[in-house]
């Protein structure tokens, strides 16, 4: 590998035309063939499952979930935190890596941003369908009404409402405006009138002029600068949903940073899985190279160490703080009803990623895919156990109870994964999945163009 002239471009020469053709032609001319159609068909049952589960819970009631009087939160909350975390990495890749001039991001940032958008949209569903009365979810918004009623600003859930809303708006805007030059390319290469009209309308009159590029670069950099604090605030506020409470195991000041890193951790793992699939599915070996995976694996390794340190801090402060309720909850982690799951969590999040210390593992896609899936499982377990452990083992000793997982819970766990894949497949058919203009620039900088 090291003998290659351009580590980030896996080809001797990659001209501008070749880049555009590699990305745009499958969409416009070549078609996606049987594999794409079969993949789409495979995701359809999951879409139906998701819609069916949502329909059922709206019709019958939240009692379909496994929640009970003691453990009043469950899969919906864990899924929400997990999906928001998945979205987080996309924004981090496109903004933080842009700001720190990590050029390797060029080929993966487009689908990382799309991943953010879809993940945040899916995440946004969960707080609504977890409500007892979802039809009144809009009461969390401060809208003018005849009773002069406002939301209750001290509640972390109101902060969360704003966090999700601003995150969704931001990621949609950032993703769409980042697409503009590529949409113009699509317009110019389109062979049908419909293609020219639709891509042309979406390109908002992009003419590739120096003035356009100047405005675009300034705007994009400004948005990227806004995104970094936004990403941190979104997940900090998700952490505050738990930390701004009175419950042992939740009331911890470490939660906001720990949630941000956790989100980055699971998000990068998801990007790796998607990158492997997209690279294989769209034959983009020239643009997504082992060097990309190597860089992302290093981020995951770092995040894994931070997570392990956070867990240890949690245990230590509970012991050192001396509060009986906190200590018993930590004891419950290791010896209680969910102890096997907690052990699995520690294996997935702390132990397994240590293999990434080895360069050969970082550059072997099979190993990397396995570890990334484990990280995503581990991070989901972390979120569900944050909910379960504390609520099952709170202050009221006489009301300690465990959670009873229901079929509905499994449906809203598995269904959205397929929905996410469905959205991605549709996107890959309609829009360039790799940022053509940024790869062109990269090719030029690398001297490959």
């Amino acid at each position: 590998m090291s003998g290659q002239p351009h580590p980030l471009i896996d080809a001797e020469r990659l001209g501008y035309g070749a880049i555009s053709a590699a990305v745009a032609d499958p969409i416009q001319h070549e078609g996606f063939g049987r594999a794409w159609a079969i993949a789409l068909l495979c995701t359809l049952p999951f879409v139906v499952l998701t819609l069916g589960a949502i329909g059922a819970v709206l019709t019958v009631g939240i009692g379909l979930s496994g929640v009970n009087t003691t453990v009043v939160w469950g899969f919906s909350i864990a899924n929400y935190v997990w999906w928001i975390g998945i979205g987080n990495a996309g924004t981090l890749i496109s903004s933080m890596l842009l700001l720190t001039r990590q050029r390797w991001r060029a080929s993966i940032n487009r689908f990382a941003e799309a991943m953010t958008l879809f993940a945040a949209a899916i995440a946004g569903l969960f707080p609504i369908i977890h409500l007892g009365r979802p039809l009144y979810a809009y009461w969390l918004a401060p809208y003018p009404n005849t009773m002069d009623l406002w939301p209750q600003w001290r509640s972390a859930l109101v902060w969360d409402f704003w966090a999700i809303l601003s995150y969704l708006l931001f990621s949609a805007l950032f993703w769409f405006t980042g697409l503009l030059p590529d949409l113009a390319t699509m317009r110019d290469r389109a062979s049908t009138r419909a293609g020219r009209v639709i891509y042309g309308a979406l390109a908002l009159g992009w003419r590739n002029s120096a003035r356009h590029w100047r405005a675009y670069e300034t705007y994009h950099l400004t948005m990227a600068a806004l995104a970094v604090p936004l990403v941190c605030s979104v997940h900090s506020i998700v952490g505050l949903d738990f930390a701004a409470s009175l419950m042992p195991g939740w009331q911890e000041s470490i939660f906001p940073p720990y949630f941000v890193v956790g989100a980055m951790f699971s998000g990068f793992a998801m990007v790796v899985v998607l990158a492997i699939l997209i690279r294989w599915g769209l034959s983009l070996q020239a643009m997504i190279t082992p060097a990309h995976f190597d860089a992302m694996a290093k981020v995951m390794l770092f995040a894994s160490i931070v997570m392990a340190f956070s867990y240890a801090t949690e245990w230590f402060t509970a012991w050192y703080g001396g509060e009986h309720a906190d200590r018993t909850v930590i004891g419950y982690f290791f010896t209680g009803d969910y102890a096997p799951l907690y052990g699995l969590l520690l294996f997935c999040n702390c132990l397994a990623p240590q293999a990434l210390w080895w360069r050969r593992v970082r550059r072997n896609l099979w190993w990397l895919a396995g570890i990334s899936v484990l990280i995503n499982v581990g991070m989901w377990l972390e979120r569900i156990l944050i909910v379960w452990n504390t609520l099952s083992h709170g202050h009221a000793v006489t009301l300690w109870r465990t959670y009873h997982t229901s079929l509905y819970d499994l449906a809203i766990l598995i269904g959205p994964l397929g929905l996410f894949a469905f959205l991605f497949l549709v996107l890959a058919r309609l829009l360039p999945i790799v940022s053509m203009h940024e790869v062109r620039q990269l090719a030029r900088d690398e001297g490959a163009a």
Binding site: W73, G132, W139, L140, L157, S245, L246, H395, T398
Partner: protein, 359 residues
């Protein structure tokens, strides 16, 4: 007894001698409508003619079957820090004891308490020494406040609706139990943890120290119950009283039996003990009508208690018996260390250890 046999599940509990089982009369009815028919086992089947109720020649045989017995009252062995939840003291300890849990002995960043601006300050004191664990308060509350019956499937999922529960604490050994009972309704905390977490202000305080749940404002996030250290809030996971009733409880004549003074809660809202706010309102209206100050108000649980373990009243009233009980050396608040400043407080269980050792 010849010819008659019943099969019933047996709950193994401490304090019952080996080879002994208890069976309550009144269960196993054959014509009680969809809600009551075939529930439990009919002990009357052992009865024969004549006035005598003593039945001899009865044998107990253990079968291989296993049945889950649904219970909402959890049984807690007192050990370590659970002693703080159910303190038990003897006379010597009583002499040295000061009343605890009456308020602001903890430093706080919260604003000073102004919740009793309207003149009344409702409070409740429960004497754990007097409580015999009969559950009459639970049933009285259920019938007063239109608390729905949710059925065994929901209970098995851990979704009971009773607004108060009676916790059982045991400090003894299986051979010699020392059980104590603690009814736990809403604490109506002055610094209620449920209030700041509600995003739509459905959990609020009124001017008389009551922690209110505004049903038609509730959207059902359940954060209030998640954050309640006492876990006294109850959620309508289904429309238990609102279209998805258990068995025949949605039938017209059953609905007509509800207390007209109490709102029936819909699906997806949180509910909880109100200190029988409708009874407070009744007394307020009667007092206004007669032009006199408000008199005594008693809650449903208090009225039903055969040992007068529960006492409710206005802490601001002159010669308030509840206020006097709060000055009792046995007085304590549940989870006082959380500084929730509960309005429902307790009197500790006073025991005579020497005497109990003899029995």
């Amino acid at each position: 007894m010849k010819g008659v046999s019943v099969v019933a599940p047996v709950a193994v509990v401490s304090g019952v001698a080996d080879g002994v089982a208890g069976l309550s009369l009144g269960h196993g009815r054959s014509r009680a409508g969809p809600i009551g028919t075939g529930i439990g086992v009919d002990g009357y089947r052992f009865m024969r003619e004549g006035p005598g109720r003593l039945i001899r020649r009865l044998s107990l045989t253990a079968l291989d079957e296993r049945h889950a017995i649904l219970r909402t009252q959890n049984y807690t062995q007192i050990e370590g820090e659970t002693e703080k939840l159910f303190p038990r003291i003897d006379l010597a300890a009583l002499a040295a004891r000061e009343p605890k849990g009456t308020g602001s002995d903890q430093p706080t960043l919260l604003a000073p308490w102004t919740g009793d601006a309207d003149g009344h300050a409702w409070g409740m004191v429960i004497d754990t020494m007097a409580c015999i664990g009969c559950n009459a308060c639970v049933i009285a509350c259920q019938s007063e406040n239109n608390v729905p019956v949710v059925g065994p499937e929901e209970i098995a999922r851990g979704r009971m609706m009773h607004w108060l529960r009676v916790d059982i604490y045991d400090a003894g050994t299986p051979e010699r139990i020392e059980a104590g009972f603690q009814p736990v309704p809403c604490m109506h905390c002055e610094h209620a943890p449920c209030e700041p977490v509600c995003p739509v202000a459905a959990s609020v305080h009124d001017g008389e120290g009551l922690n209110l749940q505004v049903y038609n404002r509730c959207v059902g996030t359940r954060f209030c119950e998640a954050n309640c250290p006492y876990k006294v809030r109850r959620f309508n996971f289904f429309g238990y009283a609102d279209g998805q009733e258990y068995a025949n409880l949605g039938a017209e004549p059953v609905r007509a039996q509800r207390n007209p003074n109490v709102t029936v809660r819909s699906r997806g809202v949180m509910e909880k003990c109100t200190y029988c706010i409708q009874r407070i309102a009744n007394e307020r209206q009667a007092a206004e009508r007669d032009g006199r100050p408000m008199g005594e108000v008693s809650t449903a649980c208090q009225s039903a208690c055969p040992t007068r373990a529960i006492r409710f009243g206005d802490l601001n009233a002159t010669d308030s018996p509840v206020a006097a009980q709060r000055a009792d050396p046995r007085h304590y608040a549940l989870m006082e260390e959380l500084n929730t400043r509960p309005r429902t407080t307790y009197l500790a269980d006073l025991r005579n250890p020497t005497r109990e050792d003899r029995t």
